[in-house]
Point group: C2
Chain length 200, copies 2
Protein backbone atom coordinates (compact mmCIF):
# COMPACT_ATOMS: atom_id res chain seq x y z
CA UNK A 1 0.00 0.00 0.00
CA UNK A 2 1.21 3.48 -0.83
CA UNK A 3 2.73 5.60 1.92
CA UNK A 4 -0.31 7.89 2.18
CA UNK A 5 -2.29 5.03 3.69
CA UNK A 6 -3.06 4.64 7.38
CA UNK A 7 -0.27 2.60 8.99
CA UNK A 8 -2.57 0.06 10.76
CA UNK A 9 -4.21 -0.61 7.38
CA UNK A 10 -0.80 -1.16 5.76
CA UNK A 11 0.15 -3.60 8.54
CA UNK A 12 -3.17 -5.45 8.16
CA UNK A 13 -2.76 -5.68 4.37
CA UNK A 14 0.76 -7.07 4.87
CA UNK A 15 -0.66 -9.73 7.20
CA UNK A 16 -3.21 -10.77 4.57
CA UNK A 17 -0.50 -10.79 1.88
CA UNK A 18 1.48 -13.37 3.90
CA UNK A 19 -1.32 -15.90 3.35
CA UNK A 20 -0.83 -18.29 0.42
CA UNK A 21 -2.43 -17.21 -2.86
CA UNK A 22 -3.15 -13.66 -1.67
CA UNK A 23 -1.25 -10.94 -3.51
CA UNK A 24 -0.72 -7.39 -2.30
CA UNK A 25 -3.67 -6.02 -4.29
CA UNK A 26 -6.14 -8.57 -2.88
CA UNK A 27 -4.65 -8.06 0.59
CA UNK A 28 -5.31 -4.33 0.33
CA UNK A 29 -8.89 -4.97 -0.80
CA UNK A 30 -9.41 -7.32 2.17
CA UNK A 31 -7.95 -4.76 4.60
CA UNK A 32 -10.43 -2.15 3.30
CA UNK A 33 -13.22 -4.70 3.66
CA UNK A 34 -12.31 -5.23 7.33
CA UNK A 35 -12.83 -1.48 7.83
CA UNK A 36 -16.41 -1.82 6.54
CA UNK A 37 -17.20 -4.67 8.99
CA UNK A 38 -18.70 -4.04 12.42
CA UNK A 39 -16.32 -4.06 15.39
CA UNK A 40 -17.95 -7.21 16.78
CA UNK A 41 -17.52 -9.02 13.44
CA UNK A 42 -13.83 -8.08 13.34
CA UNK A 43 -13.43 -9.32 16.93
CA UNK A 44 -15.15 -12.61 16.01
CA UNK A 45 -12.69 -13.05 13.13
CA UNK A 46 -9.68 -12.29 15.36
CA UNK A 47 -10.98 -14.68 18.03
CA UNK A 48 -11.54 -17.45 15.47
CA UNK A 49 -7.85 -17.14 14.51
CA UNK A 50 -6.61 -17.27 18.12
CA UNK A 51 -9.03 -20.03 19.14
CA UNK A 52 -8.26 -22.31 16.20
CA UNK A 53 -4.52 -21.96 16.74
CA UNK A 54 -4.86 -22.54 20.51
CA UNK A 55 -7.25 -25.49 20.59
CA UNK A 56 -6.57 -27.44 17.40
CA UNK A 57 -3.73 -30.00 17.45
CA UNK A 58 -2.90 -33.36 15.85
CA UNK A 59 -5.06 -36.36 16.82
CA UNK A 60 -3.10 -38.65 19.16
CA UNK A 61 -3.62 -41.57 16.75
CA UNK A 62 -3.92 -40.43 13.12
CA UNK A 63 -2.30 -36.96 13.46
CA UNK A 64 -5.20 -35.27 11.65
CA UNK A 65 -6.11 -31.89 13.13
CA UNK A 66 -8.71 -31.96 15.91
CA UNK A 67 -9.68 -30.05 19.04
CA UNK A 68 -10.25 -33.39 20.86
CA UNK A 69 -7.70 -35.94 22.08
CA UNK A 70 -8.97 -38.48 19.56
CA UNK A 71 -10.38 -37.13 16.29
CA UNK A 72 -13.97 -37.90 15.23
CA UNK A 73 -12.83 -40.43 12.62
CA UNK A 74 -10.53 -42.40 14.97
CA UNK A 75 -13.24 -42.24 17.63
CA UNK A 76 -15.90 -43.61 15.25
CA UNK A 77 -16.60 -47.29 16.06
CA UNK A 78 -18.02 -47.88 12.55
CA UNK A 79 -14.71 -47.09 10.82
CA UNK A 80 -12.47 -50.01 9.83
CA UNK A 81 -9.31 -49.57 11.95
CA UNK A 82 -7.46 -52.27 9.98
CA UNK A 83 -7.33 -50.07 6.85
CA UNK A 84 -5.14 -46.96 7.01
CA UNK A 85 -4.99 -44.37 4.24
CA UNK A 86 -1.71 -42.41 4.46
CA UNK A 87 -2.00 -38.80 3.25
CA UNK A 88 0.17 -35.70 3.15
CA UNK A 89 -2.14 -33.23 4.89
CA UNK A 90 -5.53 -32.73 6.60
CA UNK A 91 -6.85 -31.29 3.30
CA UNK A 92 -6.46 -34.75 1.78
CA UNK A 93 -8.58 -36.31 4.54
CA UNK A 94 -11.34 -33.87 3.63
CA UNK A 95 -10.97 -34.84 -0.05
CA UNK A 96 -11.37 -38.56 0.74
CA UNK A 97 -14.26 -37.95 3.13
CA UNK A 98 -16.03 -36.09 0.33
CA UNK A 99 -16.21 -39.34 -1.66
CA UNK A 100 -18.37 -40.82 1.16
CA UNK A 101 -17.00 -44.21 0.11
CA UNK A 102 -13.91 -44.74 2.22
CA UNK A 103 -14.69 -46.47 5.53
CA UNK A 104 -11.15 -47.00 6.86
CA UNK A 105 -9.08 -44.57 8.93
CA UNK A 106 -6.25 -42.17 8.04
CA UNK A 107 -2.70 -41.25 8.89
CA UNK A 108 -1.62 -37.67 8.19
CA UNK A 109 2.13 -37.26 7.54
CA UNK A 110 2.06 -33.43 7.69
CA UNK A 111 4.34 -33.10 4.70
CA UNK A 112 6.27 -35.04 2.08
CA UNK A 113 9.95 -35.96 2.01
CA UNK A 114 11.74 -33.17 0.13
CA UNK A 115 15.49 -32.81 0.74
CA UNK A 116 15.56 -29.54 -1.26
CA UNK A 117 13.10 -27.97 1.20
CA UNK A 118 14.90 -29.57 4.14
CA UNK A 119 12.04 -31.98 4.87
CA UNK A 120 13.57 -35.27 6.01
CA UNK A 121 11.64 -38.43 6.98
CA UNK A 122 12.26 -37.52 10.65
CA UNK A 123 10.20 -34.35 10.37
CA UNK A 124 7.14 -36.30 9.17
CA UNK A 125 4.77 -38.36 11.35
CA UNK A 126 6.23 -41.67 10.13
CA UNK A 127 7.22 -43.19 13.49
CA UNK A 128 3.65 -42.63 14.70
CA UNK A 129 2.49 -44.68 11.68
CA UNK A 130 4.96 -47.46 12.46
CA UNK A 131 3.83 -47.67 16.07
CA UNK A 132 0.19 -47.97 14.94
CA UNK A 133 1.19 -50.98 12.84
CA UNK A 134 3.22 -52.54 15.66
CA UNK A 135 0.05 -52.47 17.77
CA UNK A 136 -1.31 -55.10 15.33
CA UNK A 137 -4.84 -55.00 13.87
CA UNK A 138 -3.70 -53.24 10.65
CA UNK A 139 -4.15 -55.32 7.50
CA UNK A 140 -3.61 -52.77 4.72
CA UNK A 141 -1.92 -49.41 4.26
CA UNK A 142 -3.01 -47.33 1.25
CA UNK A 143 -0.29 -44.87 0.22
CA UNK A 144 -2.35 -41.88 -0.92
CA UNK A 145 0.29 -39.19 -1.33
CA UNK A 146 0.16 -36.94 -4.41
CA UNK A 147 1.41 -38.35 -7.74
CA UNK A 148 4.35 -35.90 -7.69
CA UNK A 149 8.09 -36.54 -7.32
CA UNK A 150 7.92 -35.88 -3.56
CA UNK A 151 4.69 -37.85 -3.15
CA UNK A 152 6.11 -40.85 -5.01
CA UNK A 153 9.40 -40.72 -3.08
CA UNK A 154 7.57 -40.54 0.25
CA UNK A 155 5.27 -43.43 -0.69
CA UNK A 156 8.25 -45.55 -1.77
CA UNK A 157 10.22 -44.71 1.39
CA UNK A 158 7.35 -45.65 3.72
CA UNK A 159 6.45 -48.78 1.71
CA UNK A 160 10.04 -49.99 2.16
CA UNK A 161 9.78 -49.53 5.93
CA UNK A 162 6.42 -51.29 6.11
CA UNK A 163 7.03 -54.37 3.96
CA UNK A 164 9.29 -56.16 6.51
CA UNK A 165 6.48 -55.68 9.05
CA UNK A 166 4.29 -58.02 6.99
CA UNK A 167 1.60 -55.46 6.22
CA UNK A 168 0.00 -55.14 2.79
CA UNK A 169 0.93 -51.79 1.19
CA UNK A 170 -1.07 -50.45 -1.77
CA UNK A 171 -0.90 -47.28 -3.88
CA UNK A 172 -3.74 -45.23 -5.40
CA UNK A 173 -4.42 -46.05 -9.05
CA UNK A 174 -3.06 -43.75 -11.74
CA UNK A 175 -5.04 -43.09 -14.89
CA UNK A 176 -7.23 -40.63 -16.72
CA UNK A 177 -9.23 -38.28 -14.53
CA UNK A 178 -12.96 -39.00 -14.80
CA UNK A 179 -14.55 -36.44 -17.13
CA UNK A 180 -11.11 -35.55 -18.51
CA UNK A 181 -10.31 -35.40 -22.21
CA UNK A 182 -7.81 -37.93 -23.52
CA UNK A 183 -6.28 -35.42 -25.90
CA UNK A 184 -5.23 -33.16 -23.03
CA UNK A 185 -3.76 -35.87 -20.78
CA UNK A 186 0.03 -35.67 -20.37
CA UNK A 187 2.07 -38.59 -21.72
CA UNK A 188 2.95 -40.05 -18.30
CA UNK A 189 -0.70 -40.16 -17.21
CA UNK A 190 -1.68 -41.71 -20.54
CA UNK A 191 1.11 -44.29 -20.25
CA UNK A 192 -0.04 -45.19 -16.73
CA UNK A 193 -3.66 -45.43 -17.89
CA UNK A 194 -2.58 -47.79 -20.66
CA UNK A 195 -0.40 -49.86 -18.35
CA UNK A 196 -3.13 -50.22 -15.72
CA UNK A 197 -5.94 -50.92 -18.18
CA UNK A 198 -8.62 -53.33 -16.97
CA UNK A 199 -10.88 -55.78 -18.75
CA UNK A 200 -14.37 -54.58 -19.58
CA UNK B 1 -15.71 -28.02 5.76
CA UNK B 2 -16.88 -31.58 6.28
CA UNK B 3 -18.22 -32.59 9.67
CA UNK B 4 -15.13 -34.63 10.57
CA UNK B 5 -13.14 -31.43 10.84
CA UNK B 6 -12.19 -29.76 14.10
CA UNK B 7 -14.92 -27.26 15.02
CA UNK B 8 -12.58 -24.28 15.62
CA UNK B 9 -11.14 -24.88 12.13
CA UNK B 10 -14.63 -24.92 10.62
CA UNK B 11 -15.44 -21.64 12.38
CA UNK B 12 -12.19 -20.08 11.16
CA UNK B 13 -12.82 -21.22 7.57
CA UNK B 14 -16.32 -19.70 7.74
CA UNK B 15 -14.80 -16.41 8.87
CA UNK B 16 -12.42 -16.40 5.90
CA UNK B 17 -15.28 -17.32 3.55
CA UNK B 18 -17.16 -14.17 4.60
CA UNK B 19 -14.44 -12.03 3.02
CA UNK B 20 -15.12 -10.85 -0.55
CA UNK B 21 -13.68 -13.05 -3.30
CA UNK B 22 -12.84 -15.94 -0.96
CA UNK B 23 -14.81 -19.11 -1.59
CA UNK B 24 -15.25 -22.00 0.87
CA UNK B 25 -12.40 -24.02 -0.65
CA UNK B 26 -9.89 -21.15 -0.41
CA UNK B 27 -11.19 -20.37 3.10
CA UNK B 28 -10.49 -23.95 4.17
CA UNK B 29 -6.99 -23.79 2.69
CA UNK B 30 -6.34 -20.53 4.56
CA UNK B 31 -7.62 -22.03 7.83
CA UNK B 32 -5.20 -24.95 7.44
CA UNK B 33 -2.43 -22.48 6.68
CA UNK B 34 -3.11 -20.65 9.95
CA UNK B 35 -2.52 -23.99 11.73
CA UNK B 36 0.96 -24.14 10.20
CA UNK B 37 1.87 -20.63 11.40
CA UNK B 38 3.58 -19.99 14.73
CA UNK B 39 1.38 -18.90 17.62
CA UNK B 40 3.05 -15.47 17.68
CA UNK B 41 2.41 -14.98 13.95
CA UNK B 42 -1.28 -15.84 14.41
CA UNK B 43 -1.48 -13.40 17.32
CA UNK B 44 0.15 -10.70 15.18
CA UNK B 45 -2.50 -11.30 12.49
CA UNK B 46 -5.37 -11.16 15.00
CA UNK B 47 -3.92 -7.99 16.55
CA UNK B 48 -3.55 -6.35 13.13
CA UNK B 49 -7.29 -6.92 12.57
CA UNK B 50 -8.31 -5.48 15.94
CA UNK B 51 -5.86 -2.57 15.76
CA UNK B 52 -6.83 -1.51 12.24
CA UNK B 53 -10.53 -1.59 13.09
CA UNK B 54 -9.95 0.29 16.37
CA UNK B 55 -7.58 3.04 15.24
CA UNK B 56 -8.48 3.72 11.60
CA UNK B 57 -11.31 6.17 10.89
CA UNK B 58 -12.25 8.76 8.23
CA UNK B 59 -10.04 11.87 7.96
CA UNK B 60 -11.87 14.87 9.46
CA UNK B 61 -11.50 16.75 6.15
CA UNK B 62 -11.40 14.39 3.15
CA UNK B 63 -13.00 11.29 4.77
CA UNK B 64 -10.20 9.01 3.51
CA UNK B 65 -9.19 6.36 6.05
CA UNK B 66 -6.44 7.37 8.47
CA UNK B 67 -5.28 6.69 12.01
CA UNK B 68 -4.59 10.43 12.49
CA UNK B 69 -7.06 13.29 12.90
CA UNK B 70 -5.95 14.77 9.56
CA UNK B 71 -4.75 12.30 6.90
CA UNK B 72 -1.24 12.59 5.46
CA UNK B 73 -2.53 14.06 2.18
CA UNK B 74 -4.70 16.76 3.80
CA UNK B 75 -1.82 17.50 6.20
CA UNK B 76 0.70 17.89 3.35
CA UNK B 77 1.45 21.61 2.78
CA UNK B 78 2.66 20.93 -0.76
CA UNK B 79 -0.75 19.63 -1.94
CA UNK B 80 -3.06 22.02 -3.77
CA UNK B 81 -6.09 22.43 -1.47
CA UNK B 82 -8.05 24.31 -4.13
CA UNK B 83 -8.38 21.18 -6.27
CA UNK B 84 -10.56 18.35 -4.92
CA UNK B 85 -10.87 14.96 -6.60
CA UNK B 86 -14.11 13.25 -5.53
CA UNK B 87 -13.90 9.44 -5.41
CA UNK B 88 -16.05 6.53 -4.29
CA UNK B 89 -13.63 4.79 -1.92
CA UNK B 90 -10.15 4.87 -0.32
CA UNK B 91 -9.00 2.33 -2.97
CA UNK B 92 -9.49 5.05 -5.60
CA UNK B 93 -7.23 7.44 -3.68
CA UNK B 94 -4.51 4.79 -3.84
CA UNK B 95 -5.11 4.43 -7.60
CA UNK B 96 -4.67 8.18 -8.19
CA UNK B 97 -1.63 8.38 -5.89
CA UNK B 98 -0.03 5.64 -7.96
CA UNK B 99 0.01 7.98 -10.98
CA UNK B 100 2.33 10.31 -8.97
CA UNK B 101 0.91 13.16 -11.08
CA UNK B 102 -2.05 14.44 -9.10
CA UNK B 103 -1.08 17.19 -6.65
CA UNK B 104 -4.54 18.22 -5.42
CA UNK B 105 -6.48 16.70 -2.52
CA UNK B 106 -9.37 14.19 -2.34
CA UNK B 107 -12.86 13.69 -1.03
CA UNK B 108 -13.99 10.12 -0.36
CA UNK B 109 -17.75 9.55 -0.62
CA UNK B 110 -17.67 6.02 0.86
CA UNK B 111 -20.13 4.70 -1.71
CA UNK B 112 -22.21 5.65 -4.72
CA UNK B 113 -25.88 6.55 -4.91
CA UNK B 114 -27.77 3.31 -5.60
CA UNK B 115 -31.47 3.25 -4.70
CA UNK B 116 -31.64 -0.51 -5.42
CA UNK B 117 -29.03 -1.17 -2.70
CA UNK B 118 -30.64 1.37 -0.40
CA UNK B 119 -27.75 3.85 -0.72
CA UNK B 120 -29.24 7.36 -0.72
CA UNK B 121 -27.28 10.63 -1.02
CA UNK B 122 -27.67 11.08 2.76
CA UNK B 123 -25.63 7.97 3.50
CA UNK B 124 -22.65 9.32 1.52
CA UNK B 125 -20.17 11.96 2.70
CA UNK B 126 -21.72 14.67 0.49
CA UNK B 127 -22.50 17.28 3.15
CA UNK B 128 -18.86 17.13 4.29
CA UNK B 129 -17.88 17.97 0.69
CA UNK B 130 -20.33 20.90 0.58
CA UNK B 131 -18.98 22.33 3.83
CA UNK B 132 -15.42 22.15 2.45
CA UNK B 133 -16.55 24.26 -0.50
CA UNK B 134 -18.40 26.74 1.73
CA UNK B 135 -15.12 27.33 3.54
CA UNK B 136 -13.90 28.91 0.26
CA UNK B 137 -10.47 28.28 -1.29
CA UNK B 138 -11.79 25.53 -3.62
CA UNK B 139 -11.52 26.37 -7.33
CA UNK B 140 -12.24 23.02 -9.00
CA UNK B 141 -13.94 19.75 -8.17
CA UNK B 142 -13.02 16.72 -10.31
CA UNK B 143 -15.79 14.10 -10.28
CA UNK B 144 -13.79 10.87 -10.41
CA UNK B 145 -16.44 8.25 -9.71
CA UNK B 146 -16.48 5.06 -11.81
CA UNK B 147 -17.93 5.26 -15.34
CA UNK B 148 -20.85 3.03 -14.28
CA UNK B 149 -24.56 3.82 -13.94
CA UNK B 150 -24.14 4.51 -10.19
CA UNK B 151 -20.91 6.44 -10.70
CA UNK B 152 -22.46 8.64 -13.39
CA UNK B 153 -25.63 9.24 -11.36
CA UNK B 154 -23.62 10.20 -8.28
CA UNK B 155 -21.38 12.54 -10.31
CA UNK B 156 -24.43 14.21 -11.87
CA UNK B 157 -26.20 14.56 -8.51
CA UNK B 158 -23.20 16.19 -6.84
CA UNK B 159 -22.44 18.41 -9.85
CA UNK B 160 -26.00 19.78 -9.66
CA UNK B 161 -25.52 20.64 -5.98
CA UNK B 162 -22.15 22.31 -6.61
CA UNK B 163 -22.88 24.44 -9.65
CA UNK B 164 -25.00 27.05 -7.78
CA UNK B 165 -22.04 27.43 -5.38
CA UNK B 166 -19.98 28.88 -8.25
CA UNK B 167 -17.33 26.18 -8.24
CA UNK B 168 -15.95 24.65 -11.42
CA UNK B 169 -16.96 20.96 -11.71
CA UNK B 170 -15.14 18.64 -14.13
CA UNK B 171 -15.43 14.94 -14.98
CA UNK B 172 -12.68 12.45 -15.83
CA UNK B 173 -12.20 11.97 -19.58
CA UNK B 174 -13.73 8.89 -21.22
CA UNK B 175 -11.96 7.20 -24.09
CA UNK B 176 -9.86 4.26 -25.11
CA UNK B 177 -7.72 2.76 -22.36
CA UNK B 178 -4.01 3.28 -23.09
CA UNK B 179 -2.56 0.07 -24.54
CA UNK B 180 -6.08 -1.14 -25.33
CA UNK B 181 -7.14 -2.53 -28.69
CA UNK B 182 -9.75 -0.52 -30.61
CA UNK B 183 -11.41 -3.68 -31.92
CA UNK B 184 -12.24 -4.82 -28.37
CA UNK B 185 -13.57 -1.48 -27.10
CA UNK B 186 -17.32 -1.47 -26.42
CA UNK B 187 -19.45 0.86 -28.54
CA UNK B 188 -20.12 3.40 -25.78
CA UNK B 189 -16.40 3.79 -25.00
CA UNK B 190 -15.67 4.13 -28.70
CA UNK B 191 -18.43 6.72 -29.14
CA UNK B 192 -17.07 8.71 -26.19
CA UNK B 193 -13.54 8.47 -27.59
CA UNK B 194 -14.79 9.81 -30.92
CA UNK B 195 -16.83 12.56 -29.31
CA UNK B 196 -13.93 13.73 -27.13
CA UNK B 197 -11.30 13.53 -29.87
CA UNK B 198 -8.54 16.14 -29.69
CA UNK B 199 -6.41 17.85 -32.32
CA UNK B 200 -2.97 16.36 -32.91
Amino acid sequence: MADHNALPLVILAEQFARLPGIGMKTAQRLAYHIMSMSESDVKAFANALIEAKKTVHPCSVCQNLTELDLCLICDDGRRDKSLICVVESPKDVTAFERTREYRGVYHVLHGLISPIDGVTPDSLRIKELLSRIKDGEVSEIIMATNPTVEGEATAMYIAKLLKPMGVKVTRLAFGLPVGGILEYADEITLFRALENRSEM
